[in-house]
Symmetry: C2
Subunit: 331 residues, 2 copies
């Protein structure tokens, strides 16, 4: 018999966090979704749904909603908060997390000031627990709707079979990996390129240009990943190219939508306000460029996006910069 | 000074052949598009456009249309006919092709009876000429419209700089490669998976599932490619993943459209009749499976598509087969 987790706590009430809590409860594990405060608990309990993030998706009966103290008896704690608040959330929840609990990150980002991956942030805030990460082509509304999909769980020190049992279902198929850095960086970096893809869509660049940009983006992701100790092959898998293309083509992707709005002339602030939820790529691009500088890795596509979002050049100028820069041989 | 081709002959009057002839003429090389017979020459000359294949795209002044004998003075001969007619076309044109001419294949397919790549078919029909192949994410209507894009020219024995000069423009950027087999197999095999992608679209599988299927498809393409002597890295480039995603997401792709029609219940014959032009993947899937069998390579996604197209199972049964088959670890 495979060991199974008895109780999972998921924090927080983002679209992805709420989706994972619903998925875990549907899949037969006792699950609590950790809300910010009693007011949010009351709102979500009254509706038995998260109307703003996941309209039309009812909470299954096995899903509780509660505040942080309800995490105490969880043997698996899943973090799905925005990357910029992960450290604060983890430190705030730490007194309620068992010393024996496994911790899994479903947050996709890189800490800007330090270049740390999300699992490294969690390892510092919640030391001595087994750690894992979950990433892959997982548009939350599709997972919540029960559409078929797949994801990757990477870990080197947690019980991978128990993690797989908790998340694996007939609709969401779980692959496993021991390349924590690669799986995590694939999920974080792809948001940068989904913004660029959305910009290209808004400018009517066409599918030939978009495919070319994403092909070069994949190479760029892999270069930084390998410099950070990841396995190059991970970027050819679900957590790399799989997540990159899902996010870059889906109308449900917030990062792609951010790019579309910026491509039509909106400022990054105005675009983020219109989206109304975090688009991680807008932060990740700066974190990735800082990290790349320390590793001596060139990221021309990310650098061009950074100049569009924060440096005052237009999307058209950025695309021209990239086109002029291309070398003769593919390698 | 780089050597330049003085005159290019492009055969035949497919959407892609016509597009390449227009592109080459726009790019400043004297170009003749080889039509089937005097009737087709007259029709195309009268319209100075190919209304059925490329509506609204006028032939540039430098583009001639003529029958086979006009190829005699060409120092570059480009083949863009359907794969099933390539050998017959090449043998028919051979008496008109100079012994000094460079031959380039823009046909994407595998010969079903023999497993030969298109450049191998051309090498046999037109021996002792320098050979090259052109492939990449190149939806013909986008190239004809002058939208930005990129392509790969692979050769081991032709003057790559002269080829690059003929095809490279501000809108179509040409990369070079020496991996002829990889570039050619990428272009041929991706059509198989674009059909599967179209089926998934028709069934409303969602972007998570489509991305997962394409990720596994890329691995499958790479396995057969490497078994045939190609470089694995080629499948991570424009002629591999780039072409795969362009073809699998674009509404302009005939192979994707074939999959959509089959996914909605049409027979392959009915679907091809509705499309009205070759969808190479419908032939390539059988050629690829035969080739894979000789190399001992498993291609479960191609095999599932073959059973849908020719073996009487439904698209839904095929998707289920694939989902059940997936292994635990990504590698």
């Amino acid at each position: 018999l495979t060991a199974r987790f008895q109780r999972v706590a998921v924090t927080g009430t983002t679209g992805w966090g709420t989706t994972l809590a619903i998925h875990l409860a549907r899949n037969g594990t006792s699950t609590v979704l950790i809300a910010r405060d009693e007011d949010e608990v009351a709102t979500l309990q009254a509706a038995r749904a998260h109307g703003r993030r996941l309209p039309g998706v009812a909470f299954p009966p096995g899903l509780e909603v509660a505040t942080a103290t309800a995490a105490t008896d969880a043997d698996l704690v899943c973090f799905a908060v925005p990357s910029v608040t992960l450290e604060a959330n983890a430190r705030a929840l730490a007194p309620c997390v068992s010393r024996e609990a496994t911790v899994i990150s479903a947050t996709k980002g890189i800490e800007r000031a330090t270049g740390r991956r999300m699992s490294e942030v969690l390892a510092a805030a919640l030391p001595a627990r087994p750690l894992a990460v979950l990433s892959g082509p997982n548009l939350s509304r599709e997972v919540a709707a029960g559409l078929p999909g797949s994801t990757v769980i990477a870990t080197r020190d947690a019980s991978v079979d128990a993690l797989r049992s908790a998340f694996h279902s007939t609709s969401l198929r779980v692959y496993t990996s021991d390349d924590v850095a690669g799986v995590e960086l694939g999920g974080a970096l792809k948001n940068i390129y989904a913004i660029v893809a959305g910009m290209a869509d808004a400018m009517g660049s066409g599918d030939n240009a978009k495919a070319a940009i994403l092909t070069r983006s994949l190479a760029e992701m892999g270069r930084l990943g390998v410099a950070c100790g990841a396995d190059a092959l991970t970027f050819q898998g679900l957590a790399g190219v799989g997540d990159l293309i899902a996010t870059s083509y889906s109308p449900l992707s917030r990062n792609r939508r951010l790019g579309e709005l910026v491509g039509r002339g909106a400022s990054v602030e105005a675009a983020l306000a219109e989206i109304g939820e975090t688009a991680e790529g807008a932060t990740t691009v700066q974190a990735a460029l800082a990290l790349a500088a320390t590793k001596g890795v060139e990221m021309p596509i990310a650098a061009a996006l950074d100049r569009v979002l924060y440096g005052g050049i237009t999307p058209l100028e950025a695309i021209r910069l990239l086109m002029e820069r291309e070398p003769r041989s593919e390698r």
